[in-house]
Symmetry: D2
Subunit: 236 residues, 4 copies
């Protein structure tokens, strides 16, 4: 029997970024929204609110990956970011639309929903960080989302305490815990490592840039917490 390679290997840049803000990270990945997804006890209104905002979120995340293509210095980075962009606007947004249809939300519904401030804060922070900084700043701002959802999905899927029978959020858990998304998250962990080597070098934590990267990662993680908070507070 082989031990699977963990999504976030010890000593990887992603692991070290998480260690700079352990409480924020826990507040994110173990958020009440997540617990209730696992238990199947999340009110449907909360999930629908989250789904509708997530549609707008995905569009801005696709724009962030387009920006990553633009900011790449190497063809392999361009290709990886372009593949993620393609997956987002051609596959994921379509899946999202059909998944939402199952919850009674049409694409027109979602396009008509006003963007919540917590959503704007997160997406615009990421985009603006990418524009004012370089590719590494952008990837670090994206990491809590891309990799964090992978960590959450894998944990919930493996956890025997996760409600399975009749859990209305079972498909969400299977999507992010499943092999396909795990591969996406893993590729993001690797790209972070590779781009950091190119943009800084081998001794990243001793770099003058480390405090700035940690600040970006921490801010993005707290904005994820705000996104879950928003999910728990549907309007009206």
């Amino acid at each position: 029997m082989t031990t699977p390679i963990p999504l976030i290997p010890a000593g990887s840049l992603m692991a070290r970024l998480k260690e700079t803000c352990p409480e924020d990270w826990r507040a994110y990945v173990e958020h009440d929204f997540v617990r209730r997804l696992a238990a199947g006890s999340l009110p449907e209104a909360c999930f629908r609110h989250y789904l509708a905002q997530d549609y707008l979120f995905l569009m801005h995340f696709a724009r962030a990956y387009a920006l990553a293509v633009y900011k790449s210095e190497a063809l392999d980075d361009m290709r990886q970011a372009a593949a993620t962009l393609d997956a987002l606007i051609n596959a994921e947004m379509g899946l999202h639309v059909s998944y939402c249809a199952g919850w009674g939300l049409t694409e027109a519904d979602m396009a008509a929903v006003p963007e919540e401030p917590a959503n704007m804060a997160y997406t615009r922070f990421v985009l603006e960080r990418g524009l004012s900084g370089d590719l590494l700043d952008l990837l670090v701002a994206l990491a809590p989302c891309v990799v964090g959802y992978g960590e959450i999905g894998a944990r919930l899927l493996a956890d025997p305490a996760t409600a399975r029978d009749g859990n209305p959020y079972g498909q969400w858990i299977e999507t992010y815990g499943g092999a396909e998304y795990q591969e996406v998250a893993r590729a993001a962990v690797d790209q972070l490592e590779r781009v950091a080597a190119r943009r800084i070098g081998s001794d990243i934590e001793r770099s003058g840039r480390w405090p700035s990267l940690a600040a970006t990662f921490g801010a993005a993680t707290r904005l994820e917490v705000g996104f879950w908070d928003m999910g728990l507070a549907p309007p009206g």
Copy 2:
């Protein structure tokens, strides 16, 4: 006796943008935070919280004006934006620091304050709108702040109901209602008009771009409302 020229002339682009979201605009300029400033009844903790966030806000607004310089196609637009940038980082931020000192807030205090999500949402929205769009999109995103503060200041200063004697917020009202700031706001109204003529033409409301400009203006106005809400809810 002459009638002064109003800050926002009827028919100006600024006036027409306000007319696209009258309720949001009223929620902003007549916000409870503003009423209590005028009455002198705003709790000090709220004002201090607002001031500390405003320091971070000013820094990002200065960055937005730098972006406006970069995005200008004409030398006069470059010069106007550069003058605002200079005023922000050399005069206003200094004034802000000395004003805050009077409230017991040091520059180090302010630099150490965590940026509130409402602050991030607003500043990053403006910057990102400017980067993804053109100079006009950026100026429209900036207008609710620059011109709105002028409208609020002038109204409070002229209103006989505004508390004067011993109002701890008297200086704030005098700053934004005073001649110097009114000139800044007026110049912003004019620049909006001039840049819209260059980037669209004479019939702006019939332009295909009008819905997008109105959406930007409305979003920025609602983010101003969120900024006042944040002011009323200091941490701890």
Copy 3:
């Protein structure tokens, strides 16, 4: 027998942009480099020089389309630009590499070639125009290349005077004159029209923005002339 729809319909935005700089346009599409391609008389050293620079050019053009995705306000514009990006980095650059291999140029050769100033001037002008302006400015800067190559290809392919037997540049002509590329060029003509309607409206030539758009188009056209000039002057 039906008359085919012309690539650049009379009255289209593309047609009107061409009319603002007819001499520059002619200097570009009827350049000596093009004439010699058609006649099969272009010295091989010129073509190889052009091909090697074109590889670098394609990479920056892919980055420009990534920027167009980022700058899109509508999902259909995002998707169209993302499809072009995908075609460029996954199909065209690969085709270019295998085509170049037929001319004895390896991918390593091309990556090692110093970028010519004429190449830098063109690609960076387009990217910077897109960043300082909006999506329409970017698409107008891209149009002379995307649509112009379509016009050249179609004309050479249809022209009975074009050398066919043993013309070493026959494949180049077939590529750009062929149905697949004609579709790409046509989609670019349409997108220009659609985005101009969104960003300006119906009366584009009377818009205050027309001189700036015409200036961008003219500059990009002259930079295409410079690119052909560069092709005719291989180093050494």
Copy 4:
């Protein structure tokens, strides 16, 4: 008697960047255009051509400093870049205009001059490098100009072989060799050092980013050579 501190101290980042492309650097600072300025033998048509292009150049360089303000993470960097921006658009462009007037060139003349490809290549390369990279990439792209002119000016001013009596280019030499400009260049050398420490750390040449920084510096230096070449080849 004290030895003055050299503009580019040994071991400074600027010195090490120069060492990555010694031949290109020499081709730039010892260019024929420079030699003839020193000798007073440069044809007037060449100088006038250079001056007219330099006016457009300064405008784009001012935009690059505005971008540096936007991309700054620290208030001191914002202030330094804003001071340079202010100097460029309020002092230098004015001086340039009055200086050019002495050569019979009006501001209207200069605004009407078509931008040369060598000018576009350089300015757009710098701006685009700054947009796709971070503040350090931008400052490295700006360094050959800002610091190089300081090195040239100081050398010509100190060189006994420089023609003094009746040299029509004496004022140019005094401007760039004079104390005021030397201070500007020195501040740029220092800022490069400070920002590199923040964005990389102490061991810059062993950083994974060094090849990219050296490539940017070399490209900008060669584009300066192209700018002098352009000066020597006035149209018509």
